[in-house]
């Protein structure tokens, strides 16, 4: 079943007299439970595609349909609420809130959703245990390694039980051990909880673990391969 669908998605930037088609007429569907890597050289449009799917960037034309809702039609707080309730984000630079502990960071989005404290507590502890950080839940980001921070970021993205997670180069700043740990966790969550992951990446280790690899170049999808598991 398709959870995300883009139709003739286009994002054009203007630089002086030039038009740059960062995403050029892309129509693609993502199924529930897929573990997809979007790959391609720098400037190929991977991040722009993810931003459009995540409602972070308004496309020039086309549609992004998530569970029958065209999010390009949502504005302001409607879009923010939609993101909060349906999409989890993992960023290259972790982007945790430095003044909050791991536990507080993970529970932050649930807090914004207005979930009760008891529900938050149990969900946060469960997720931090799942990403192997049960012991350091009261530490702040500056007391954690990069790998640990990214695992907290994954737990944060999962906390509000989103439909899918968009991860923009999540392993770019991690060493191989941390990358391997992180991918193990994501793969497990994907398999056990059926969470859909979409990565933009250059990292071959991520590509190797993906069940589907979409390759982009000059804003277009040039290949879309599903691996036989």
């Amino acid at each position: 079943m398709s959870v995300i669908k883009t139709e003739n998605l286009r994002k054009t930037y203007h630089q002086g007299d030039y038009e740059i088609h960062a995403v050029d007429d892309v129509s693609v569907e993502f199924e529930q439970g897929e573990f997809t890597a979007v790959v391609g050289p720098s400037g190929s449009g991977k991040t722009t595609l993810l931003n459009a799917i995540g409602g972070l960037d308004e496309p020039t034309s086309g549609k992004v349909i998530i569970n029958n809702t065209d999010i390009t039609q949502l504005k302001g707080n409607q879009l923010i609420d939609f993101r909060m309730n349906n999409i989890g984000f993992v960023f290259q630079a972790y982007n945790l809130i430095p003044v909050l502990t791991a536990k507080e960071n993970v529970g932050f989005v649930m807090l914004l959703q207005g979930r009760p404290e008891s529900e938050r507590e149990s969900r946060v502890e469960e997720l931090l245990a799942a990403v192997g950080l049960g012991e350091i839940m009261n530490k702040r980001p500056n007391q954690m390694s990069g790998g640990q921070q990214q695992r907290v970021a994954v737990a944060r993205a999962l906390a509000p039980k989103p439909q899918f997670i968009l991860a923009d180069e999540p392993t770019a700043n991690l060493d191989s051990v941390s990358t391997s740990n992180l991918l193990d966790i994501m793969a497990r969550l994907n398999k056990e909880e059926g969470i859909t992951f979409i990565f933009s990446t250059h990292d071959q280790r991520v590509i190797d673990r993906a069940s589907r690899v979409i390759t982009m170049e000059d804003g277009k999808i040039i290949s879309d391969e599903r691996k036989v598991q």
Binding site: T47, N77, I80, F91, P98, V99
Partner: protein
């Protein structure tokens, strides 16, 4: 909202050095502003008190004719004087009054000459109204010399090189316009705190003067002290309504419009001084918060990405800015209160500029003073400045495109 406040509070302590610099500048700015105001208020209050205690009292009564022409014969008529005395004695708002005989004259000795007013007083009565007897630089207050003693002001004494025990000649016209020139002996040198006043008045005993004038208790002026300076106007109005036409009462503000004007202007000046300081502080806070918003672009982008709406981001930055101001401002207020309380009782000696201040009617020893309304006013202005200075950085944060902000370096 609790979490927003918690994050904002913790953010204040993220860059401790920068926050401490802001705290210090707010604290010192508030202190400097309030201390300057307290000094000014203290000087003004002292000048006002000094003028009221030595020159204007709370109000004065003169005969209507004397108001037009300050001649010896234009004294308060005897029947009116009696009515007035009765009224003042029976008015509970009146603490004390004194009666004066005043004539224009000149003084001369071997060192010079000056025009002045010769004021005949009842020394005991005068003590209940003015503080000249307390303001003697040297000599005594009509207690030592039996034969025509005179009190002269410090600046007149300096000009004519007068000192206690020295003689001077006072010249004036008597009742029949005969010229009188007679020697008086300096019994005391007073310092009212106002050089001009001290140069233009000498005090003699009323009996001596009336005898020389060949008059029988001519009273030209009645100076009155009330229970409170605010009672001056109602007491004046009552005197004028009952005895108007024959006499006219005027309050200190009418007698010294310059003093009343500067009293009014002081409130405006306080607003301006504090306004400038708080305006400068607001810019410091604004700059710090703009830097903070710029530095935290990625984090703010993330907050917008994960679902924090713009209103919450706006409030978070606003609350942070307000915290930054509010931690330091009470410390500045406390520091001001401590220093003003201490120096308000110990005084600050400005002897180095004392002479210049004396000429303008200020004492060299200044007692800073702050009214509660000034603290309230400053607190209100700080709240206003903090809120206003938080708007620009908060708006800046909202302008971030989350997709770009999360990737900011």
């Amino acid at each position: 909202m609790k979490t927003i406040i918690k994050i904002a509070w913790r953010n204040v302590w993220r860059n401790r050095l920068r926050s401490f610099v802001v705290f210090a500048s707010v604290m010192l700015g508030v202190w400097a502003g309030l201390f300057t105001v307290s000094l000014t208020l203290g000087m003004m209050d002292q000048q006002k008190r000094s003028i009221v205690q030595t020159q204007t009292s709370h109000l004065k009564v003169h005969s209507s004719r004397y108001m037009k022409d300050e001649k010896l014969i234009n004294h308060i008529p005897d029947d009116t004087l009696e009515l007035l005395e009765n009224q003042l004695k029976n008015d509970s708002r009146v603490v004390a009054y004194t009666e004066r005989t005043i004539i224009d004259g000149t003084v001369n000795n071997a060192h010079g000459f000056a025009n002045l007013k010769i004021v005949g007083i009842d020394p005991e009565m005068e003590k209940t109204v003015t503080t000249i007897y307390e303001r003697l630089d040297s000599g005594t207050y009509f207690s030592e010399f039996k034969n025509r003693p005179v009190l002269v002001g410090k600046s007149l004494a300096d000009d004519l090189k007068l000192d206690v025990g020295k003689s001077l000649n006072l010249n004036f016209m008597d009742k029949d316009t005969n010229a009188v020139g007679i020697g008086f002996k300096v019994e005391g040198v007073f310092n009212s705190g106002n050089g001009t006043f001290d140069k233009q008045q000498v005090f003699v005993r009323q009996n001596d003067l009336n005898e020389l004038l060949q008059t029988n208790h001519f009273i030209h002026e009645i100076a009155i002290i009330c229970t409170d300076i605010k009672e001056a106007e109602p007491v004046r109005d009552e005197i004028n309504s009952k005895l108007g036409g024959s006499v006219e009462a005027r309050t200190w503000a009418q007698l010294s419009p310059q003093l009343a004007y500067s009293d009014e202007m002081m409130t405006v000046a306080i607003f301006i001084i504090l306004g400038i300081i708080i305006f400068a502080l607001a810019f410091g806070i604004l700059n710090t918060m703009l830097m903070a918003v710029l530095e935290r672009k990625r984090e703010l982008g993330m907050l917008l990405c994960v679902g924090m709406n713009k209103r919450k981001v706006f409030f978070m930055i606003m609350i942070e800015t307000i915290f930054l101001s509010f931690v330091a401002a009470p410390l500045g207020l406390l520091l001001s209160w401590i220093t003003v309380t201490y120096f308000g009782s110990a005084g600050i000696n400005l002897m180095d500029v004392g002479d210049a201040m004396y000429q303008f009617g200020y004492d060299a020893l200044v007692y800073p003073k702050l009214y509660p309304y000034v603290y309230f006013m400053v607190s209100t202005m700080i709240i206003g400045a903090a809120i206003i200075s938080s708007i620009i950085p908060a708006r800046r944060a909202l302008k971030y495109n989350p997709a770009e902000a999360v990737r900011a370096l």
